[in-house]
Amino acid sequence: MSTFKPRDWGSHAPFIAPGYKSTILRGPTQAPLAIKSGLSEGTGPRFAPASVRKLDFDLTKNGITNGEPLGERIVVHGKVMDTDGRPQPDILVEVWQANAAGRYVHKLDQHDAPLDPNFRGSGRCMTDANGNYVFYTIKPGAYPWGNHFNAWRPNHIHLSLFGPGFATRLVTQMYFPGDPLLELDPIFLGTEDAAARERLISKFSIEKTEEGFALGYQFDIVLRGRNATPMEN
């Protein structure tokens, strides 16, 4: 087992990004203490293919009660790799999102937009031997939130991955190209580095688009790479 390269903090938001108001009282104020990583950080949970059921990767079907969900069907392809470009096989990817109207199934979402009886908005998939994953869903809608006057979240899908170790844990959001709300969104803008922010935006792909069925998007995910030398035990 080898350890992971340190987190590149330049690719991430600070704990406190005042434009996103909730960070002000919730982000730690003291810098995290660097520790030498070992077994505890280098190991992590692995998931058997059986932990993903047949329809988990198809959000257009896994929440159906009496018909098809409303909205624009999309298919999201991506490769999970590390910063050295190595594909990451057998990685569980969990996803959740709002429906086409911008409403979450979550009981606390009070946004005045309709629920869709045929769309729950959560699922999961695993990467194959080449690090590729795919899931089908409905393009999520934008929705208002209380951060500031007339605040709207851009269309986005939440993704959660462990990667090869506990240290590589990542929860992120995938956005859509050309969304005018991106430049107004304090969550997207919380990542100060513009080039890093671009990595949160999926690419439309006519090659991945399925004729007569679903628009295709590509969203590659890059996790921390490994150190060249194995750890001392």
Partner: protein, 195 residues
Amino acid sequence: MAYGETPSQTVGPYFAYGLTAGQYAYDFTDIADTTIAGPDADGEHIRITGRVLDGNGDVVNDAMIEIWQADANGAYTENPVDVASSGFRGLGRCGTGTDAQNRFYFDTVKPGVVADGTAPFVNVIVFMRGMLVHAFTRFYFDDEAALNAKDDILQSVPADRRDTLIAKRVETRTGVEYRIDIHMQGDAETVFFDV
């Protein structure tokens, strides 16, 4: 470095029907829940519980805590087949929105020592609305004072902040609990690690 890391983004307020569906009674399965060790797992069965507090001292009711820990023998169990046979999962996940006092709670076994010169502990990740990047911390155990005193990482923490990482053992009617609160800010701000 050929590729830049994908930035972290907040888990937001509405993760429950995707990540903790069983705990919050949504119609979806879980890949992890509040049971880290089932009844058949070897070791001393304990509950780890506590609250997450923001900079005003208010209890956070929409945080998600994950734990990754060694088993009672100090081994990390990565292989899903071993998990199924031992009843020890190693991974736990709990949202703070279902307990009446908005605590997180995990049913597990006390971990063994992973390596010589270290104290038993569990790895912890804190996620919530208002955190664009998750934070790593550790929970140690207050009845392991001798080992805690020799643990390099715990001893690398300034002495006046070390207590923020130490869970307190309490014997309850239903069993042994270790209690620890996570303070995001303030005088008792929890020590977080850059792992």
